[in-house]
Amino acid sequence: MSWPRLTGVCPSVRCRRFAAVWPVALVAALCVGNSRGAGPPEATDVSTLQLRNGDIVSGRWLPSEDASVLRWQGAPFVSPFEFALTGVAAVSFPVPKEPPQPEGAYCFELTNGDVCYGSLERLDSETIELELPRLGRVQVPPGRLRRFSRWNESAGLIYLGPNGLADWSAAPQGAWRDEGGRLVTVQPGATLLSEFKLPPRAAIELEISWTQKPEFILALGVGNDDESVRQAFRMETWDGELVLLRETARDADLAELRTLAAGADRLRLQIYLDQIAARCLVVSESGAALADLTIAGDGKGSYPLLKLLNRGTGLQLERLRIRNWNGQAPLEADDDATGLHLVDGTIVRSPLSGYDAATREFIVGAEGARMRLAADRVDSVLLSAADVGPPEPVTATYQDAARFSGELVRVDDNAVWLSSPAFGNGLRLPRQGMRSVSVRANEKIAPAQEKGVAVLEIEGVKLRGRLIDGSAQPGASCLVWQPQGSRTAGALRPGATGRILFREPKRAPRASADTRTKTIRVEQQEQVRARQVAAMAAAARVAQAQTPVASAEEIRPRRGDQKSIYLRSGDSVPGEVTRIDERGVTIKTAFSDATLVPHEKVKAAELADESPKSAMLTKIKRDRLLTLPRMQRENPPTHLIRSKEGDYLRGRILQMDDVRLILELRLERREIARDRIARIIWLHPEELGADSAAAQSAEPDTATRVQAVHGDGVRLTFIADRLVGNVLSGKSDVLGDCQVPLDKVEQLIVGGAIEQAASRLAYQQWKLQHAVDPAFVRSEDNRSGDGRESGTESEWVGKTAPEFELPMLEGGPFRLATQRGRIVVLDFFTTWCGPCLEELPHVDQVRRDFAQAGVQVVAVNMEEAAPRVASLLERRKLQLPVALDRDGAVAAKYSVTTIPQLFVIDREGKIARHYINAGRHLGEDLAEALRELTADKTGNEPGSP
């Protein structure tokens, strides 16, 4: 048998030996150097870096003069990384909930894919001048401007986003997250359904990105029902191919759009959806027509929604712009001739030779045949394009959807500098208002294929790489991460929570479908071919349905294995229980000299194999076993003992040695032979009724707590303080000093994630639950149901209140007769009556609340001296008017034999409510009654006084 070597014997000697082998100065220098990093990013300044290999890390983009390197301060790290720009996919910045709308008269589309909004200032054969927000006056060489169209200050815009999850119904709950404005999911099957509505004719600009393999469906023009989604125009990914298709009950058609790259990449498309004409056009970002399908729908008219389904791992909806569309197909970009689309639908196929800014007129036609067109007659203009060469490597996109591309020159705190031929090279792009900067994949540079690479996963971070040597320093943990593609490493800050995955657990091979498709043109009458298309789509769906679903981790004792002790932290330590007593559990384990584990840390212990015929435990039986009766709430059982035959016994273990177990069972003492016991599970009172993760939520870690998880299920939690030569050292609060060779570890869980992971383990699910209270108890607790007294049940209600006159504590008399026309509240009390003292603050509150509503509150003290009453009022900070019923005569008139008692007398002097010992709910009951009574006179609805 080979256990991982978690050495704990003579640890100090081992630590010293490692320290001698590895230069301490080098390790210290590394960690100290790290701690001099750029400091933690401000909470409002957290952006996300997306790497080409699909990794992400939240943090802050640091200035750099070196354009080949992106300097990034990851949020949970103490020092910055320096990633090669070729390994970077994008940087996303935070986006406000209400992003700005594009401003300007025109939307300009450049040949390199750039889009900007602004005004046209000059256009002739020499140059084009634009006035753009943020950038001011810029010049664009002729041949670089591909198209421009009337924008008219966002007129016709339906949606521009995404702006987080606003305007979307996301399912399942929590599957999508808002990451700097874009919507991100890693959950297969996650869907987004728009809450905004598509017009029947819509122009849709879309940008989607993915981290590994593009796998999604985008259904356009759908309702809330599945059938409309099935029959809608859909863009689907079929094994790397992007297709546009539609399947109805009668017809089907499909067009292949393009092949999508595996690995992190993105897709930008323009879609024109005409639900009236049952037509869908797809145009590439450069304006090339990719598909044009026309298939009649179900005849039920247009559907207003849009639905996105993730079928793969990581998918991001980056940008979506929806505008009203007039139904006219966009000018084809591969048509060399320039042309103008007029607002009346006319197309003018003449070259555009100039623009007269003074008269706001376009000049069209060749020399000698020129004519002028007023700008407000022109909807869009397609210009002759120059050969633009390869696409620019870097694209910056703003929150208002403007985007600019070029080569990265440098980055400073305020701006990103690009070299852009489209804008005459030097382009200073302010970082303010920017939503992302993306880097085009360089196919000439193959992604690194390192072996033995681990993955660091903590909040906002997924980074491939490896741990390098380090030791804990103030403000820096000993976990120093060297990401793939970065020339620098960074130590994690203490308090980080997540995991380092060294190797994935083995899983069943995933079914793959032969979804390779060819472009198929299906004529409407060719039903056979339509069925083929449908079959291909079905095959792709089946492949998705067979995706394995992650399940809760299980630890099941295996027959013949060495027995283990399971801790609440999730630790699983092979060993033998030698004794249990009030101090804790004494164990014998090869991993530590420490032998005593306090009860509060233990979750379960295996003592012996079960009989092959041991009884199975059904869920119903288990629930019953874990249900605590109301009468035992103050004495819950603390242990579950499972016999070798599968029987369970609940009780409180007092002691166990190698012969017998002494148990308190319903306060009786019982003895059981130890050799009859297979397992013991600890039931901790503080877990009662708590959900699994919250029950053990730990304080934020100041040191680096890790749990090493081995492939065979052994887990060990400790405070890590040094990593040298792939051996992680630290101290377990249960087992003492320990050292863990990482080559035996499957994953290293860090910080608060330890409790979350532990909560998914089998034994951690064993928690007592309170039995459901009977109805009378619930009504008493919640004041709901039939048990609630309304104050009108008393025989006093409706009778005339007995007259009386009493001296007031503050002086003067109180006569009930003088209170006609007012509502009077009389509260009989004494200073020694606990329930009375509980009620008095409520009565005082009601006095304040209803002071302006004609309500007079008087507390009637029974048979006590004035100084004692005054002392009580002062001590309790009460300002109640108190009448002194010194001989108890008034109490006798009202038959007050039990206190507290409270009477509400209406304006006519009749008793309207009578409460006897109403308890803590008196305040709300009394206020409700007074609202009702005060509303009677005015005819107003009951409300606050």
């Binding site: 009468m631 103050e634 020694w832 009556c833 034999t897 039990t898």
Partner: protein
């Protein structure tokens, strides 16, 4: 000349000597109960921390301040019993000053004419009980060293008994309620007064048999055949462990274990050893401890284990044990429930 004994010595000695010291008849007890088993260390420490809390928070005038019923002769009487039950010498031990302050507090608040200890009959009952437990154990000469005109413990106790009996005579139920002049009664207030009277009688003070018999008759009327005990008026039987415990206790101390109501009440209690109190847990456990101890020693031992466990968890770092009427009363009642383990108070004798 007196010697100051160490606390541990006192625990050992007082258990055996208490019968000799007290000037009254003491019922014979089985030898094993007289000597008792060794008190577990954690219990001793818990009690010690609690009694130190009460000693620390006691005012110069002998009472305790705070919310609810944290003032008055009732709490002074209960606090006094906690000091007496600690095993320290009441006249010269570490808490002798606290004992004297508590006694002075009760006596000085007493109405010299009526004997009413003050505030309510709850306070009167518990104050009377405290005086009864101190009577014979606390030397009067140390209570009022400079004031010869003040009542001694015996005089104050006799006067208090007279007040209780007078109040009872005016009460058609033959029992008590909050006010000494109340004409109705409840089983909670009446328990405080009746136990006080029984303790006084045990201490040698003359208490008319008629008074005890009438009060016991009241309890028999209020006890159902199933053992439940109503609060006040007619009917209204519920699961109040506090009231069932009070009834069981008064039947026991009044030596009326022959009554079917006693057997029913005791059966009700022993069948619900794990049942949580419905409100006022400190008040409930104060009576439950004594009722079980008097009624069924085996059941008390089981329940006592649970009590120790619960109080160990409830006790705060300052030694106090929370209660619904504040920490002083909660601590006093909880410690007196634990004090059955010491069995030093006369009222705990079986």
């Amino acid at each position: 000349m007196f010697m100051t004994l160490s606390r541990t010595t006192m625990i050992a000695l007082l258990a055996a000597a208490v019968a000799l010291v007290l000037p009254r008849p003491v019922a014979a007890q089985p030898p094993d109960l007289r000597s008792g088993e060794a008190i577990p260390r954690d219990l001793r420490e818990m009690y010690e921390r609690g009694v130190q809390y009460l000693a620390r928070t006691q005012t110069e005038s002998g009472g305790w301040t705070g919310g609810g019923n944290e003032q008055g002769p009732g709490l002074a009487g209960l606090g006094l019993m906690v000091f007496l039950a600690s095993g320290e010498d009441p006249n010269f031990g570490v808490y002798s000053t606290n004992v004297r302050r508590a006694v002075r507090s009760i006596i000085s608040g007493q109405n010299a004419n009526t004997g009413f200890l003050g505030s309510s009959m709850y306070h009167h009952g518990f104050g009377m009980l405290g005086l009864a437990e101190a009577y014979g154990a606390v030397d009067d000469r140390h209570i009022w060293p400079d004031r010869k005109d003040q009542r001694g413990i015996g005089q104050a106790l006799e006067l208090a008994v007279r007040a209780a009996v007078t109040s009872q005579k005016k009460n058609s139920n033959g029992a008590w309620r909050y006010s000494p002049s109340s004409t109705d009664a409840d089983t909670s207030v009446s328990g405080a007064v009746l136990v006080g009277l029984l303790a006084a009688r045990n201490a040698g003070i003359e208490v008319p048999d008629e008074a005890i018999d009438k009060a016991i008759a009241y309890y028999t009327q209020m006890t159902s055949s199933a053992g439940q005990v109503a609060y006040s008026g007619i009917g209204g039987f519920d699961d109040s462990l506090a009231r069932v415990s009070i009834a069981t206790l008064v039947y026991s101390i009044a030596r009326r274990k022959d009554l079917p109501q006693y057997k029913a009440a005791l059966g009700f209690l022993t069948g619900r050893l794990e049942q949580p109190a419905q409100g006022w847990p400190d008040y409930s456990r104060y009576y439950q401890a004594q009722a079980l101890f008097q009624g069924d020693l085996e059941a008390w031992e089981k329940w006592n284990g649970l009590l120790i466990r619960q109080l160990k968890q409830a006790q705060r770092s300052d030694g106090s044990i929370p209660g619904q009427q504040g920490p002083a009363l909660g601590t006093a009642m909880s410690l007196l429930a634990l004090a059955l383990n010491y069995r030093l108070l006369p009222i705990y004798e079986r």
